[in-house]
């Protein structure tokens, strides 16, 4: 620490002011920033990607020289066995996968908010029934159920996949939101608005739900993550519309034509890596949201490693980053002239 801190009798006043002046973006933990940027890149690719595709992803080039061509300038990610351009498939596939996951995320999150808030706010028999339903659907394994549901459907189109995934994706969020609503329900401002005679729907929509935005956001991110994972896995198993291009169907075709065994890594690796990076972005974003709500979990990245040596594991985790300095000041002679 070479720059002297401003002299102040109240050490905490200065950093707190700093904290408030910074925007939300500055306050986000590094992990969340990385996640948001990565996700933004994918969303951008999904929006403008299909406009930029150099070829029709389904076009099969009959020329034998274009079968299984490694990446080059004409085909950035090479070609498949039947001469299709992998890069074009990837761009279209990212859009379809992301689109499906976002729709599932919205539908399932709305369901979980409705169920969670209704259970906690209405209480009594409603709570018993809705909580029981939530817990039962949490414990019944989702993928086998998804597989047999889609197995029965003669047409495994997008709509069917969305309905089935959303229909099984709500219980996690509902459980968390119910717990949060239980906590908020007893607060004074809710009691006050009930006393002033506000209708129930208004209390729910304007008093309770706005106080759960961060939880709802986290549950949305989680649901999107689940939808990407499940839809890709189902497509890989062949339980999807195999004529459309999503990251899952790309992997299905690559695997069924033994891309890896014949050494065509450029056919198999890009879609898998895209799914992995999308997933990582969402996981990072979510752990960032977590840290925002619970500062204890915050990465020690902002504090120098040397400063951490002054802390024993059981010391309270510094919520503000001045804590190491405060430690030093308490533990005897100071080395620098940085504090009054």
């Amino acid at each position: 620490m070479t720059v002297a801190l401003p002299v102040s009798t109240d050490q905490f006043a200065v950093p707190e002011e700093h904290q408030r002046r910074r925007g939300l973006w500055r306050r986000l933990p590094t992990r969340a920033k990385v996640g948001a940027i990565l996700l933004g890149a994918f969303v951008l690719a999904a929006i403008i990607g299909p406009l930029l595709t150099p070829y029709d992803p389904s076009f099969q080039n009959p020329s034998p020289s274009l079968s299984l061509q490694p990446p080059d300038a004409a085909h950035l990610l090479g070609t498949t066995q039947s001469g299709q351009d992998v890069f074009s498939q990837l761009l279209v596939g990212i859009r379809l996968t992301l689109e499906l996951a976002l729709i599932v995320g919205v539908v399932a999150t709305v369901l979980s908010v409705v169920v969670g808030v209704a259970a906690a706010y209405l209480g009594g028999v409603w709570d018993e029934v809705l909580s029981l339903a939530t817990n039962v659907f949490l414990v019944i394994p989702a993928l086998p159920l998804l597989i047999i549901l889609l197995g029965y459907l003669p047409q495994k189109g997008q709509t069917a996949t969305v309905l089935v995934l959303a229909g099984l994706g709500w219980p996690w969020g509902a459980r968390l939101i119910r717990a949060q609503t239980m906590a908020i329900r007893g607060r004074d401002f809710v009691a006050a608005s009930r006393e002033t005679g506000e209708p129930t729907w208004r209390i729910l929509a304007f008093e309770i739900v706005p106080n759960e935005v961060s939880l709802i956001a986290a549950s949305f991110v989680n649901t999107v993550l689940y939808a990407i994972g499940a839809s890709v896995a189902l497509a890989f198993l062949g339980l999807a519309d195999l004529t459309s291009w999503s990251l899952g169907t790309m992997l299905y075709w690559a695997e069924s034509q033994q891309a890896l065994q014949i050494g065509a890594w450029w056919w198999f690796v890009p879609p898998g890596l895209a799914v992995a990076l999308m997933g990582t972005a969402l996981v990072l974003l979510n752990s960032g949201i977590d840290e925002l709500g619970n500062p204890r979990l915050r990465d020690a990245g902002g504090v120098s490693a040397a400063a951490w040596k002054h802390l024993r594991p059981t010391d309270p985790t510094p919520v503000l980053q001045v804590a190491p300095a405060r430690r030093r000041w308490r533990s005897g002679p100071r080395t620098g002239g940085d504090l009054p």
Partner: protein, 328 residues
């Protein structure tokens, strides 16, 4: 009502819901399931045709209530009907042959991942910001990679190119399953790579959760009190912090068993492992509806049973669960 009784009632309700869903799926889905089976297997006996109609609710097999009752009676007798693909083998026989493979491999791999993840989480939470804590974002990547993708890459690198491990299957061809060393050794050798991929893919989740709960626990006043009493670091770390942090972890384990099973299904398909997941996919691709439905029930019951075991463990290590009346 004691905790464990309340939980048992819950699992019975959950089992009944699963049974009922399983009963209604073939009746609610569009298309005629029996016709699609008969078109794929034209040489089925007329008696099989009748049995399929009764099982899947096609035609006029009596009122819905009678069908439902007959279905429940059949399930309680483990009578899932005759399999159409491997006619005249019984569905229950097929499931009985495959389920030990899944339970042994997936069970041990999951327990290893849970223990390793929890241990790493204790260290990462205790030395918050230490090097164990810093590899966590890297492990998150492995968690986000689609499981089958990771498994296929590892299979390609270690088995196809590296020749270190077998390519798949449960045991070497030519061996007869039985309790002799040739077979057991081969089975263990063949399970190494599948088990390793399950552990790699799931360890980060356990680690992250344990770390977060550890960090929250470390901030509690009783931790400071324990240190102030002059207890050894090891005792504070394990008996005070880890034991308390373990409870949410165990509750999470119960809920995660369903996800683990899902991963196992995909694992078996990648490695052609002779377990219940591969059987399920084969049933789906060949429109073998009776087998599909029976597998769903068996998997669900296995998950519920795992949850019961977890609850028993929770009661054993948490005095509050024993004392508390009707905990949720």
């Amino acid at each position: 009502m004691p905790f464990i009784v309340r939980r048992l009632i819950f699992y019975i309700v959950a089992a009944w819901v699963a049974l009922t869903i399983n009963f209604f799926i073939p009746r609610a889905m569009p298309g005629n399931a029996v016709e699609s089976i008969m078109s794929k297997f034209p040489n089925l006996q007329p008696s099989a045709y009748k049995a399929l109609q009764a099982l899947l609710g096609v035609g006029h097999p009596g009122s819905l209530w009678d069908q439902y009752w007959a279905y429940l009676v059949n399930v309680f007798h483990f009578n899932f009907g005759v399999d159409v693909t491997n006619y005249p083998a019984k569905v229950s026989t097929l499931i009985g042959q495959t389920i030990p493979w899944t339970i042994i491999l997936v069970g041990s791999a999951t327990v290893i991942a849970f223990l390793a993840g929890t241990a790493l989480g204790i260290v990462a939470g205790w030395r918050h910001g230490g090097w164990v804590d810093r590899v966590l974002p890297g492990l998150m990547f492995f968690q986000a990679v689609p499981y089958f993708f990771l498994a296929l890459i590892l299979l390609e690198l270690l088995a196809v190119r590296g020749h270190l491990l077998p390519l798949g299957q449960g045991y070497a061809g030519g061996l007869v399953p039985g309790w002799h060393w040739d077979f057991l050794g081969s089975a263990i050798y063949h399970s190494l790579l599948p088990a390793f991929t399950i552990v790699i893919a799931s360890v980060a989740g356990w680690m992250l959760q344990m770390r977060n709960v550890m960090i929250t626990t470390i901030g509690e006043d009783y931790m400071l009190a324990a240190q102030a009493k002059g207890l050894s670091t090891r005792r504070v770390m394990f008996t005070y912090a880890a034991r308390n942090a373990l409870l949410p972890q165990l509750q999470g384990f119960g809920l995660a068993v369903g996800f683990v099973v899902s991963g196992a299904i995909v694992m078996e398909i990648v490695f052609s492992y002779p377990g219940i997941g591969l059987l399920l996919l084969n049933a789906v691709t060949s429109n073998d509806f009776p087998l599909m439905q029976a597998i769903f029930l068996v998997i669900t019951f296995a998950v519920l049973l795992a949850n019961v075991i977890v609850d028993v463990i929770i009661v054993a290590i948490d005095p509050r669960a024993r004392a508390r009346e009707g905990a949720r």
